[in-house]
Amino acid sequence: MSDAVLDSAVHHQTFTAIGQSMPRVEDYRLLTGTAKYLDDIEVPHALHATFVRSPYAHARIFRIQTDQAMAVPGVVAVVTGQDLARWTQPARMAPPIEGLFPMEMTTLPIDKVRFDGDPVACVVAADRYTAEDAAELVMVEYEVLPAVTDMFAAAEEGTPLVDETLSSNLVSHQTYAKGNVAGRFAEADVIVEATFSQHRQTHVPMETRGCVAVWDDGRQHLTFYIGTQVPHPMRTTLAARMGLKETQVNVISPDIGGAFGQKIALYREELTVAALARELHRPIRWREDRMENLRAASHAREDFVKTRAAVTKDGRILALHADLFSDFGAYSFFPANYMIRVVAMLLPGPYKIQDYSYEVKVALTNKCPAGPMRAPMAIASWVTEGTIDAVARKLKLDPVEVRRINMLKQDDLPYLTATTELYEDITPRETLDRAVHSFDYHVRRKEQERLRVQGKYRGIGICSVIESTTYGSEFYRKAGISGTGHEAAWVRIEPTGVVNASAGIMGSGQGYETVMTQAVADGLGCNPHDVAIHLGNTLLAPYGMGSRGSRGAVAGVGTTFLAAQQARIKVLAIAAHLLKLRSSKDLQLTDGQVVLETDGQWRPTGLNLRDIAQTAYLNPLALPDGMEPGIEAHVAYDPPAMTYSNSTHICEVEVHLDTGVISVGPYLVVEDAGTMLNPQLVEGQLLGATALGIGGVLFEHVVYDENGQNLTASLMDYLLPTAVETPEIQMIHMGTPNHRTPAGIKGMSEGGVMGAIGAVCNAVSDALSPLGIVVEQQPLSPSYIKSLVKKASKTAR
């Protein structure tokens, strides 16, 4: 792609399709039950796999007896870690990061199991019912070992090792300092400390994990159907672990019933199924049940942060120090410092804090492995904004004032943070002011006072969010993590003038097909009806990094926009040639029609996209000298090191002291995600993310007992928010374009989670402030709230 294309994309200002709330092109199939999710793909003669899982959190495997299971009619194979070790390569996680220890895992455990739900054997049978019956008959003899379930204890000397190749459960440990933190603390009038403890949660996509592996023995080729956010990286990893070339594997992702970060890694069950298909020469499918999903897919968010702020008596923050601790579970599907490091990086938030230091530790425990979940850095905004509120409480200042005193203003931008992140085109002060104003903050404060006299505990919470959205290659290089941030797309105009396009991203509900359609329509200048988007098939889509973080918009759709613009250049060059013009500079393609500017007016030329396509494919001799037939553009684009969106969440809660129940609302989000590709979809993402954040704060909780037994492996125990508990959310958009990205797109879809956690927790602390209560841990369950109230009333007495 030429610089000129990027330049024109960045400065492209007039959009027809982008910015419209175009209804989604995906919806028809989803609404009528004709969409194809993984389990809807019919594969003739496929066998069904099911897994035997450890009932213990930590145990040595002595012997696995499979004969009884094998004797069940319909059972084709029962295999264990030993078998898989012959057929597959182990996974090694060893990025060259200081303080991070390398880890390795086999495809299924061989010597010991490390968490309740760890898969120890796989049964393959004619149908799922039979496979599950037989799995019950697989006899595993264990020697139970003491379970490590608490991350702080895990890191102590003498604790049993989760991974015996390491010398400690402390798998990652780093420190960082910028500026003169000690000096600033010495100058401070007050030092304010705060702690934040976030509980373990899990993604719960409504569609659980699953896959279908079809091995073609004649071609020595694997077709692997799997709902994955990252089809190409999945193919690379799968091929490597099976000892195949990437040419021997095709990954096809059908419609995905939600992912939220849980469908990125190649899981051990999936690799087992692929290897078995090759060994047994039979197609094999697997779909986990909900219990397995809650117990053994991937967990997230179990983080602890303690902050110390050096503050002047008028509320100015001079310096900040943070101690971070994270529970990583039993295995490494991602670098152990990967998620918590981003939290540390973001903690200064939208505030001018140049003197900042942190220490971050990550421990292994006998619990389900951790992975990124929609906003892996979710705790960050709560920590930052909770610290600000702690400052306000200590100095008896209004929390809004403390924010204003410290917050970055337009004059401060571009701004290089203490963690060397570059903030540009963000509007934290504007979203804060707008939120405070639109929420009638001061009126509500008075009302709050009045209600308190009547014994009603209402609180207002504010959370300003700086959301890291798109990670460019430069970010990964800086972080020392392998991987890149570029994305690729192609746009092909077919002989009839209709347009096919693809990119490496894969959607799981975001509406990529719709926004990519809009981007192609605007980038090329055609009618959206004539565009079709094809995602998720690695033989069809260009190699891209897939969907993670909030990169879909900038990386995925942005690259597609660039490819469409590239195609337009060729279309117009052909048009100019056919019209016998010297150059195409006065030509434009609008709604599929070639128009010519004369005397400041756009006039039809009589040519349309179909005419140009017909020439390009069917009459190549009429093309300009030396031009290739056909019209196809293939573009790769690497976004800036990082793009940022920002927002302010503000909400009110009422805490019912007698029951401990919290009701949330009204709730307002003022957000700035730059150019909105499709405002209705932006709102949809924001609503979903905010609800997920609120659910996490109030209800969701993965609970382990002291032996490492998972107590929340059904949806009756792991509580998701329903339509009744989820409040109505109001939204205001600012729309400040990013000046470096195609069309000014910034990306969004995780910030809602971050903002909700901070806003709800801060509001509850505010509501309970007359009792001297500050919430320091989530979830804010009725029993936790009641225990705080009880303790407070005891102290008061």
Binding site: L31, A723, T726
Partner: protein, 181 residues
Amino acid sequence: MNEVPVTLWVNGQTYAVRVSPRKLLSDVIREDIGLTGTHVGCEHGVCGACTVWVDDRPTRSCLMFAIQAEGHAVTTIEALAQHGQLNVLQQALHEEHGLQCGFCTPGIVMTMEAYLHEHPNPTVDDIRDALSGNLCRCTGYQNIVAGVQKAARVFAQNSSGATSAAGNESTHLSEGGREYV
């Protein structure tokens, strides 16, 4: 396990299948009859994704054996759109962006379609209550509620309450020739 012959009446058609007596209705609809629009999200009766109608009553097909459905009329999501055209509720959910990944959607459509037949004039709180047995992880429910409200308005306008034909409030999304409002 021994298979038994079962005759099911689904979406107005008869299906004679041989299934094991313990096979769930959801699995038989999906695997033996081949209608995969009914989704399975939990298999323990909590998520509502598997909701179908048994004799016009919303029923969780993961909590029923297929043999129990013999002699009853089963209706699934596939029966709602007619001639490639969404019905009023489906159309309203489409317009209000009441779905993202769509996995919960068939269950929600089956639940709320039946609800609207019996409660033509619901308040927002009523709708939220009725929806509370269906889990959606993507949308935060707000746009689903808006879609159901819109459908209720269209029903009221068409006052006859017939839901099989689409309302005339706006352009329709149909198979093949897509229309953008």
